[in-house]
Symmetry: C2
Subunit: 339 residues, 2 copies
């Protein structure tokens, strides 16, 4: 199996970052992304090279904080700690690139969202310093390098709206379906399993899709699937933003939003393998922590009052549910519990 | 070596919790602790029994959030995950008890503080269900159980005042000195090493003392040392609170405080072994996370402006320094850099 063309993957990811930032700025109507280009000298102690474009929009009218990062890290020798489940890759040259975003809206009725698409390849043919074209060509000819795609997107509402969840999951399902009927159900469950706070026995949000180590469709079709996921993010998220961003809210909703954002921090710092590993292993701290909300509160032993929208969030939304298959009568029944 | 009397240790810890809560309420002049008594059925899946008194003061006039917890956990069989560095203890009955506190003041000129004193014992004689007296008596007679004390206190200022740091560390030093001249230097360094954010290359605060696995002085004198540490917390902290709590402050100081509190969250959720292990292994989430600040902010790639008190915090205070030995001329020289 040949290796996906590194130039093509990189080009897609950079364009995706551009498109998403432009759409979010347009939606925000005032907020602007500022960009930090960073690069890392491969001669430093970590032996890693690479760089990235970190982009952040802070204090927008719609988005209180949105971080959309592109990064491309490579090295001559994959550290053993990064390959615990694939020891045969330790010491091999590698490339890891991706786009990762987290959006924290201002209005508590607009959900927080997260998306990530990434590509990883390692192997003897993956020599840093050679051109990406050489890589993919020589990679096909010599001992086959290992490569895969990963990513997905998930949604974290503060106030639950069944139709938003249905739209989100149907968009995810439709992005997966042309590439295989089994993909959405598998990756939907993977998402539910991954974005789960064990210490709260609670889902982080209403899920979406999550996948890793993906090369099952071969070089071209696996990359096409990744693009389908990346391209589906805006159609999945923007209609929900547009529908909710003008909903009036007060102190009560704001306080609940700040409280629930604490769960986001807890997940990212305690359970998210990428974040935790990145911080412990010398990743670029500011880019990694761009996912953290701009303002967060913790209250001791808070419980929402029964029969409130705040209580319904955990009761009805933060439990895995087959949102994409919800029939109209089921949707109506659910909505009747919400009012 | 006989085992410290479990009743005596427990009695001391409960009284310490009472004293500290009463003193903080008095200092706050309005805020009140509310108590959650909790207990854990030893018959549950974890095989752990025990209980605690969690106390929290929220929205006080001086203390925005103060959590002061007592807990006593015991079990028939120590889980292997809890004894990675002492595999010989796996499967033994054990007791773990302690008082832990974190105080987040409202005024940014008052530092956040943390204190913990704890006792652990494990071994064949440490049979849960037997009375503490039986435990210590039979423990002395049969195969010696393993036991130790641990704890310490550390201070996290938002705005640095050299005289506060000197007072804090001299109080710590004076609490250690009667028990051994080497204790303060060793435990001061241990504290600096432990409360360090590697991903920021920055100390959490100005330190204090930290120790663990401590039984070197024998049964009675080790317990006396623990009491000396526990009893020193209020004399170390309250004078600083009293000196700073009426300092006028505005939005700028408040924003800096909320930003710096992010570091506290990052340390506790990413690096603190107790917190991380507790959350991952099924500890009582609300008690563990009582340490988190009430309100926190994250800003992308924030840097304090040069020559401001905010910049001086990291430049002059968040680096290990021998505060206790600072001479008056050194203190004057440092103070001249602060104005």
């Amino acid at each position: 199996m040949s290796v996906p063309d590194l130039n093509a993957v990189s080009g897609y990811l950079l364009a995706l970052q551009d498109n998403i930032c432009a759409a979010l700025e347009h939606e925000d109507d005032g907020g602007e992304f500022r960009e930090d280009r960073w690069s890392r000298d491969p001669a430093d102690a970590s032996g890693l090279g690479g760089g990235g474009r970190s982009r952040v929009l802070e204090n927008g009218s719609v988005f209180e904080k949105a971080g959309v990062n592109f990064s491309h890290v490579s090295g001559q020798s994959l550290p053993p700690s990064a390959t615990a489940h694939r020891p045969e890759l330790a010491g091999k040259p590698f490339h890891a690139l991706g786009v990762s975003l987290v959006i924290h809206p201002r209005n508590p009725y607009v959900p927080t969202s997260h998306m990530n698409v990434r590509f990883f390849c390692a192997g003897d043919a993956t020599t840093p310093g050679t051109s990406p074209l050489e890589l993919s060509t020589s990679g096909a000819a010599s001992a086959a390098p290992t490569w895969w795609f990963g990513g997905g997107f998930d949604l974290t509402p503060y106030y639950g709206f069944a139709e938003d969840c249905v739209h989100w999951h149907r968009t995810a399902r439709d992005a997966c379906f042309p590439h295989g009927a089994d993909l959405y159900p598998r990756f939907k469950k993977w998402c539910d399993d991954y974005f789960f706070l064990k210490h709260r026995n609670e889902a982080r949000g209403i899920g979406g899709i999550f996948f890793d180590d993906f090369n099952a469709l071969g070089t071209n079709a696996s990359f096409a699937f990744l693009r389908s996921v990346g391209d589906a993010f805006l159609p999945a998220y923007l209609p929900i933003v547009q529908r909710r961003k003008a909903t009036p809210f007060g102190e009560r909703e704001r306080e609940f939003q700040l409280y629930r954002r604490g769960r986001y921090v807890e997940f990212n710092l305690v359970w998210d393998r990428g974040t935790h590993f990145g911080l412990q292993s010398g990743g670029r701290t500011e880019s990694i922590l761009m996912s953290l909300p701009p303002l967060v509160s913790w209250r001791y032993d808070y419980h929402a009052k029964p029969d409130t929208p705040e209580a319904r969030l955990t009761e009805l939304f933060l439990k895995p549910r087959d949102w994409a298959s919800l029939t109209d009568p089921q949707l109506s029944a659910l909505n009747s519990q919400l009012t």
